[in-house]
Symmetry: C3
Subunit: 364 residues, 3 copies
């Protein structure tokens, strides 16, 4: 008998397989169709071929099933899937198809290659650093004086941990990550390659008649909560004084920039290339799209949704959904965007009428 | 006799020289002017001094020749260059001045300092990795289990190649690049420093009443074609399942971000800081300006041109040229931008007329 | 007696303390209030608790003093602070509160952990490189042939210095920075982690009927002046030929991108994620906000201010303040933005009137 992890494969792995009935059992779903179909890989519903498993999370996807090349689908209960042939194909109904797919992906996940437990001989550990014996410290890592690396932490390779910084247990750090001095990283974190935490905030007194450009020393720190994910090539600056803070379970995509003294709450999602200016704040559970810009000191409330590409100048109240440059409540913004799309045409039309009017006034 | 590479120098190299006639011979051009002028460096046409060579790619540049300090120019055939004094200066006519300059730059290119063939003693090569004996693996590189490094590959320093990943022959990788597990890089690629390929896609189920934020495992891979160039600090995420794909001969500038499951075609150019959301696609030969944002699942056709700073929300048809936020066909967009530039003024004018009208209606 | 650096502490340091009178003496300020208050840390004026020191740079901050939890404040002379109780709290008047805080931060600054003077045994120094004996070269650094590392330079770890490049005295380079071949870095510079200087410019001849996409060799260099600061994950490309130039005392934030052949003047500030297209220029003392985009060949004058998120298409004259997409003089731009915020509403109103008019014309 094979273990579940050998049962359904991704492109780059050996082709293995699972029967529809076994799959239904694994996700505790209700099978409606052929139990003996053999599934070997995941595929989008518009594609698929022999052995493909797909998913139908909502009613809008169900219409694709008829012409899909996939042989089985995980379906959210309540969705009506027309034209299903249960003799040849299989539907597996579950409370939440997205969650079921996550469950399958977890089983299939080959994991990331990690160095063995212990310290690689090429890593440089300061005698004053505390590295837990269950941590894995890969080649080329540098751990400075008074730094702490907790139990089961993984530093893949060429990771730098500055003086007096700490990494909580079970945190996994990819190659090339640089954590400056005096930073705190929580437990079960995941930091992707070449991100930088704890670089100086961009603080300068701009020139006036009586002084030149003057650097403001950035003596604060960065504090990152538990279960935080940070994408590749992201940057989080240390505070001028005090701390730049990222809450628990918050997730940053690649190339996100968090400036000095920002406070980001719990359970926040920040998509790719989003930038926070100095001292900006974001409340719990807010969802921030990609390439968003928050002005210095912008204040975003809790449960806010900000669409990709928006620019926030000042304040967004709790629970609002905003978009645009500058960001506005979505209803107003969408109406304005629609008006902008036709602006030139609209102006020409108005111009014409105004001219006619002017003529009327002039000639009357 | 000196080799061509010693004949015309850039700022930081020793001053060497080539006669106009030799140069004309090298680029197979037609000399019109003094064959004995000695050229020592390249310069823009508005600048230049004794020994400067410049180029006149199109008629619009030709007017600068009269007052240019340059002593010679490569000129695209058919361009008329007024006020040329052939006794003192030299014009060399070629079918395509841009291509001739490329030819000269190739000859002058001092190349990049590379480690010698073989594996540096400080590099860490897993016993299960396959490194071709003609590859150059520099100091601090880490090559994981079952990874393949092809013939004549150069890894300058501190490059990380994950488990089961492969790098095709003649690919040149700058320091600090991180290639995650299960990624495929084609032949003759060029990857600049600190780029990251194969970090996790940013996939989370957002919280609902019945579930917290949930990470979607990203078990797919990245597949990069042949002759691809990737700029510094760019990031390409692995797919949720399946593969994120970059086509042959496609070029990415610095700080470009490609999210999970994107499909970028062949011969595409993506300028600096452009961001692709999840599952976005771009067709062959499209040219994407800098700081462009493609929404999740945006579909850009073939032969599309997108101006810098544009935001693509949904779909751009084959062959279109678009710009703006949101991106629109350039003619409409330019008209709208022009209208926006005068919007406040226009509104004031309309306001005034409307008020006058209201008065008319009220008083009549 | 304790040294000044032990007198006032930040979060992560041991709690030490300074009396208000001593502090006034240190910053050469005039004390108005209780000389014996003991200060232990810095805090924002809206927060603060026992031992907190804050600052009141301008009149607008003074109103917060009454309800602030802080026990002392540095105040710019001339600011009137209402409801001050000098028995229990202390105000210290100085010519410039911002500068006084900088003075205090300098004293408190714990500095950055650096490797000792000399070359770490794991660093790779080419026999042809010149490393000053007073430089500190940390673990994993690679210094190529004919490179020069000046007196008192610090390379923390895993820094790469290419062939023929030079780093001026007292420059401090964080981990993972990559400096390509033939680049010049001035004195007293500060470069944060994982930045890349000297990657190839993004130069390609786009395809035409007679040629495919063709790489234009980028054989130039990068020249960076003295006292320059470069943020984390920033990228500065080498020139096609000649040099990409950054002037003296210019400061770049994180994730800034400077393309090939750009010329940035002296004393310029470039905030986070700003992008310069090829051959763009910026004059001395200009202040550029975050996420700004300069088009290829855009020309920004001296003493220009550009607001965050702006896009510069062509030219900004000396001394102008601009904002918006595309960037316009701030007065016009703000008026246009205000008009855009109400655009849909305005259009509906105009539409209504125009219809009424049309009816009038039709029925009359």
């Amino acid at each position: 008998m094979t273990s579940p992890s050998q049962n359904l494969s991704d492109d780059k792995q050996a082709q293995v397989s699972i029967r529809a009935q076994e799959l239904a059992h694994m996700v505790e779903g209700e099978l409606f169709g052929n139990p003996d179909i053999v599934l070997t890989h995941l595929a989008p519903i518009e594609e698929g071929s022999s052995g493909s498993l797909t998913f139908i999370r909502a009613q809008s996807f169900a219409k694709h099933w008829e012409n899909s090349g996939c042989q089985a689908a995980l379906v959210t209960k309540g969705v009506d899937v027309p034209n299903h042939n249960p003799d040849q194909r299989a539907l597996i109904f579950v409370p939440d198809a997205d969650l079921a797919i996550v469950q399958i992906l977890r089983v299939l996940d080959p994991g990331i290659e990690s160095p063995p437990i212990g310290v690689h001989p090429s890593a440089q550990i300061d005698p004053g650093a505390r590295v837990d014996p269950t941590a894995s410290v890969g080649p080329g890592c540098v751990i400075c004086k008074d730094a702490t690396v907790g139990p089961s932490v993984v530093l893949i390779a060429n990771v730098y941990i500055g003086k007096n910084s700490s990494v909580g247990s079970d945190t996994f750090i990819h190659p090339g990550v640089v954590i400056g001095d005096r930073c705190t990283i929580g437990q079960r974190g995941l930091i992707f390659a070449n991100s930088v935490i704890g670089s100086d905030g961009f603080g300068f007194l701009t020139p006036t008649d009586t002084r030149p450009v003057t650097k403001v020393p950035q003596i604060g720190s960065v504090e990152i909560g538990d279960d935080v994910e940070i994408g590749a090539c992201s940057t989080i600056d240390r505070a001028k004084f005090g701390a730049t803070k990222i809450g628990n379970r918050t997730k940053l995509d690649n190339q996100v920039h968090i400036a000095h003294n920002c406070i980001v709450g719990d359970d926040v999602l920040l998509c790719g290339r989003t930038t926070l200016g100095g001292s900006a704040t974001i409340g719990d559970r807010s969802l921030i799209g990609g390439a968003v810009v928050l002005n210095d000191q912008a204040r975003v409330g809790k449960d806010v949704k900000i669409a990709g590409g928006a620019m926030v100048l000042d304040e967004i109240q709790d629970g609002e959904t905003v978009l645009g440059v500058p960001a506005m409540p979505s209803r107003t913004a969408l109406a304005n965007v629609a008006a902008q799309r036709n602006l030139a045409k609209f102006c020409r039309r108005v111009d014409k009428t105004l001219k006619k009017l002017d003529d009327t006034y002039t000639t009357s």
